[in-house]
């Protein structure tokens, strides 16, 4: 049992847990009311849309692809909801249209990646520019607000106790995403495709269908996050959620998901989500400026891979033996990846 715990601790998730505990300890000692429910809710609230998109991005990256268009999609769905609402439709209709647009464009991304066979980097780069452009087209230079109160309340006020709708949605989606990724057929196929789309194809798996499902979900969830963001902020501008994609991808990678696909766990990603939220919260409360926050997270990203690598090497040198193969290596090897990467398509 003790050995099992030790093994877990030496895994990627274990490392994240240790870092998280350090940050928590630091925050608790430095920030008087850090552990209050209010602050914890705040902490989630501020990054909740990113946290939601992180869940689906985990699937995208494990399947060996990337979706750069998520943040633009958040902006677009918010803009669509606002524009439809402004045009006189009731808010629920506006929300449905926004979600539909998200799913539709997600499907389109998936189609170009999975069926036409373009690189997802290129396709979603086009989406990154194009969706933002559509949002801009809809909202132009205005700020659209005046949403019904129930809608903004959903984003701002606690629904169950202090927990807002977004937090509840995140919690539910996190559970669903964990179960789907680790227990369902779709999750299994996500890993299979991420490891080798060829093996999947030679096993009769419809790679295209699976990828299209994942990209459609990515569009849909991003759209949902966009709508939730509109509710939280109470107003929509074309620049809503601009630049979120890098934050989202950073959290996923920090969670131990390999950018080359096939490797990663939802636990790791959830830990890294909580870790980053905590870190930002602590830094902001400590009065650290935005650039430095980003820099610290960047540094953490590098160190989290670098330190275990270096430690491993030192350990190696000390023992002059190969590392116990049961110890799972963190995602590494982009410099000299041992696994050949099948380019999509």
């Amino acid at each position: 049992m003790a050995r099992e715990i030790l093994r877990r601790l030496r895994s990627w998730e274990g490392l994240l847990l240790v870092v998280l505990l350090v940050i928590l300890a630091y925050n608790i000692t430095r920030v008087p009311n850090f552990l209050t429910i209010g602050n914890q809710v705040n902490l989630f609230q501020l990054g909740i849309e990113k946290a939601i998109v992180v869940l689906i991005m985990t699937f995208v990256i494990i399947s060996g692809e990337i979706d750069l268009s998520v943040a633009s999609m958040m902006g677009l769905s918010a803009a669509v909801a606002a524009a439809v609402f402004e045009a006189g439709a009731p808010m629920p209709v506006a929300i449905l249209v926004a979600l539909g647009v998200g799913a539709g464009f997600g499907l389109l991304n998936g189609y170009f990646v999975a069926v036409v066979g373009l690189s997802s980097l290129a396709v979603t780069l086009a989406g990154y520019v194009g969706f933002r452009g559509l949002a801009r087209l809809l909202v132009q230079d205005r700020s659209v607000g005046g949403f019904p109160e129930w809608f903004t309340n959903l984003g701002q006020r606690g629904l169950v106790g202090p927990l807002t709708l977004s937090i509840l949605i995140f919690a539910v989606l996190a559970v669903i995403a964990s179960v789907v990724l680790h227990r369902s057929g779709l999750g299994r196929l996500t890993y299979v495709i991420g490891n080798s789309a060829q093996v999947a194809r030679y096993s009769g798996v419809s790679v295209a269908r699976t990828k299209m499902i994942i990209f459609t979900m990515s569009g849909l969830i991003s759209a949902l996050a966009g709508v939730l963001m509109a509710a939280r902020l109470g107003a929509v501008r074309a620049s809503t959620a601009e630049g979120f994609e890098l934050d989202i991808i950073t959290v996923v990678l920090l969670g131990g998901v390999s950018i080359f696909g096939g490797v990663g766990s939802m636990i790791g990603v959830l830990l890294s989500t909580y870790l980053v939220l905590n870190l930002r919260n602590g830094l902001i409360i400590a009065g650290i400026t935005g650039n430095t926050q980003t820099g610290i997270i960047g540094l953490l990203l590098i160190l989290s891979v670098l330190v275990p690598n270096l430690a491993g090497r030192v350990q190696d040198r000390l023992r002059r033996r190969q590392v116990d193969p049961s110890m799972r290596a963190p995602p590494s090897g982009a410099a000299e990846p041992t696994r050949s990467q099948a380019a999509p398509g």
């Binding site: 227990r183 057929g185 093996v199 798996v205 193969p325």
Partner: protein, 595 residues
């Protein structure tokens, strides 16, 4: 658009040759005659002991009494496993030294230590008698030690010439493309090979890539060349070409460490044989003093039959009928019947279109003309799911890249093609059922693994192959296509796979066996279909199928000797076959080719 490719519209010049149409003299081959080198002995082989002696004498005369490379009491431990336990080995100048052992015997570790990829925990490496430290590939290169592997370490985006010279230092400050290509051509000429040296390596066949690797080693003035299963992916013809090169090298004084699972190759080519088992040195014996049987006994530590003999029985009704199947520019006009309980062997050179044909049947790259009938009704197959729904399964030749999701467990790999059956209504994987199914296969196929949750990456080649076959058996196929099922797996596992094929056929499964291991095809098949250049050359009944005939068909000599035309003249055909047989009898066909 210029001339059209060899389209299916062109006049089929293929001879549809069914066994019933030919009346030949019964030539049941003996085991010895299929296995080059076994029965024929030195007289027919290329090994000339005289040369060997002379080389050794020279060595003594120049006072170089030390072996080129000597490993003394080398041990290496990984975690709890002792991969090498006090192994000693000496390679002499101009010697072909075979290294035998089952998977996990420590061969790979030994090679990795020699080439500096890993470092021994204890023991010593000596080159020319002087102890050296080999801690990196560069060290090994400097010391004149090079290795080529089963999967060639080729740079697909670079040209052939660049592949040969990329590792060279001191080739001047600038890349002299012309000079390099000229020298590359020279090196290749030394191997008696012509390749377009400016062409990117991506387009080369495996055999050609291997040649490039050898050329790379030679260009570095290699003194010790390690060949790790170089023949595993080669056709018989290509193997002979490779051996010719190996002999050339040997005559130039290179020490060669040769590793192969094919016993007949080892006995054909090696001067001395070292056997490892469980990380320990068992013996080093001159080839002449060793028999295949004793070698296998030493490797396995028990008696094992060398080659499986099938139980022959009458096949059932026609299950799969293929008529005039085509894929433009790849293969054309393939027609055959496959009966329940029958094993149909596919023989031919690598690249003859056998795998493409299988891929068409499995829907990976669908045929663009021709008919497929399954159990009497016509079917269309446009993707693997169509094929699977019809009960066709295809076990790939490339289990690493196409067969297994390496990091996933045995259970997950086995359930993959039939995943929908393991899902609950809510789409969850029913883990218990999955495990049970995998467990059943683990027992039935004796997959050696701690549990079905073990990642397949940690299995040996043979056990990986069993997992690949299991995953297709789990789909309950009617037709099972096995593409190179025994490539690169050890003797014990090979026999088990053969046993399994026989067993499956006995239960009424129709099996297509694609193999470049000719003795295997001949031993296992009820009938043998030979392909060449994308065309079906012949189908032989198993009692007609001799190594020579199949080889001749595969290499196109039937086409030359047999009269053309629709109606095949039986007498002429029979005469032709006799002629071939006569030719073959004079010496080994492929050897004669270049002499």
């Amino acid at each position: 658009m210029g001339e059209r490719g060899i389209g299916c519209v062109l006049v089929p010049t293929v001879l549809s040759w069914r066994p019933s149409e030919i009346n030949t003299t019964d030539r049941v081959p003996t085991a010895g005659s299929w296995l080059p080198g076994f029965g024929t002995g030195d007289a027919n082989g290329m090994i000339q002991p005289a040369t060997e002696r002379r080389l050794d004498d020279e060595v003594v005369a120049t006072g170089e009494e030390f072996p080129v490379l000597k490993m003394e009491h080398v041990s290496k431990q990984f975690g709890a496993t002792l991969a090498l336990d006090d192994v000693s080995l000496a390679l002499r100048r101009g010697e072909i030294h075979a290294l035998l052992g089952e998977n996990g015997a420590g061969k790979s570790t030994l090679i990795k230590i020699m080439t500096g990829i890993q470092t021994q925990d204890s023991g010593e490496i000596r080159i020319d008698g002087k102890p050296v430290r080999v801690t990196s590939s560069q060290d090994a290169q400097r010391l004149g030690v090079a290795a080529i592997y089963q999967e060639p370490m080729i740079f697909p985006d670079l040209s052939v010439a660049e592949n040969i010279f990329i590792g060279h230092r001191n080739r001047g400050k600038l890349v002299d493309r012309r000079g390099m290509e000229r020298e590359a051509a020279e090196v290749l000429a030394r191997l008696d090979v012509t390749l377009d040296v400016g062409e990117p390596a991506r387009g080369l066949t495996l055999a050609e890539q291997q040649t490039v690797e050898i050329a790379k080693a030679i260009s570095l003035d290699v003194r010790v060349l390690i060949m790790d299963e170089p023949t595993a992916s080669l056709s018989a013809h290509e193997v002979q070409q490779l051996f010719r090169i190996v002999h050339t090298l040997r005559q130039q004084g290179v020490a060669i460490l040769f590793i192969s699972h094919r016993m007949e190759e080892v006995f054909e080519i090696a001067d001395r044989v070292t056997i490892l088992r469980d990380g320990r040195w068992i013996s080093t014996t001159p080839r002449a003093e060793l028999t295949p049987g004793s070698a296998i006994r030493q490797m396995v530590g028990r008696e094992v039959q060398e080659l499986f003999r099938r139980s022959r029985r009458e096949p059932g009704a026609v299950l799969l009928a293929v008529r005039g199947l085509c894929r433009e520019g790849v293969f054309q006009d393939v027609s055959f019947d496959l009966r329940a309980g029958e094993v149909l062997g596919f023989a031919g050179l690598v690249g003859a279109g056998r795998t493409d044909m299988a891929l068409a049947l499995f829907g990976i790259s669908p045929a663009d003309a021709g008919e497929i009938e399954l159990e009497g009704s016509r079917v269309t197959i446009t993707n693997p799911r169509d094929a699977m729904a019809l009960g066709i399964a295809y076990s790939t030749e490339d289990r690493r890249q196409l067969g297994l999701v390496m990091p996933l467990s045995i259970a997950a790999n086995i359930s993959l093609p039939s995943l929908p059956r393991f899902l609950s209504p809510s789409g969850m994987v029913r883990r218990a059922e999955e495990r049970d199914a995998a467990e059943a296969f683990r027992e039935r196929l004796s997959i050696r693994a701690p549990s079905v949750e073990t990642p397949t990456s940690s299995l040996s080649g043979g056990n990986q192959q069993k997992v690949v076959i299991s995953k297709w058996l789990e789909t309950n196929p009617k037709v099972l296509i096995l593409d190179e099922p025994t490539r690169g797996i050890d003797v014990g596992a090979k026999v088990e796979v053969h046993q399994l094929i026989d067993d499956l056929a006995a239960r009424g499964m129709a099996i297509i066996l694609i193999s470049s291991d000719l003795p295997e095809v001949l031993a296992m098949s009820d009938r043998v279909l030979v392909m060449r250049e994308g065309r079906q050359m012949a189908i032989f009944d198993h009692h007609e199928a001799t190594q020579e005939r199949v080889l001749s068909a595969a290499m196109g000599q039937f086409g030359d000797i047999l009269p053309e035309g629709d109606g095949i003249d039986r007498i002429a055909a029979a005469e032709a076959i006799t002629a071939i047989d006569r030719l073959v009898a004079g010496g080994r066909l492929v050897d004669g080719e270049r002499q």
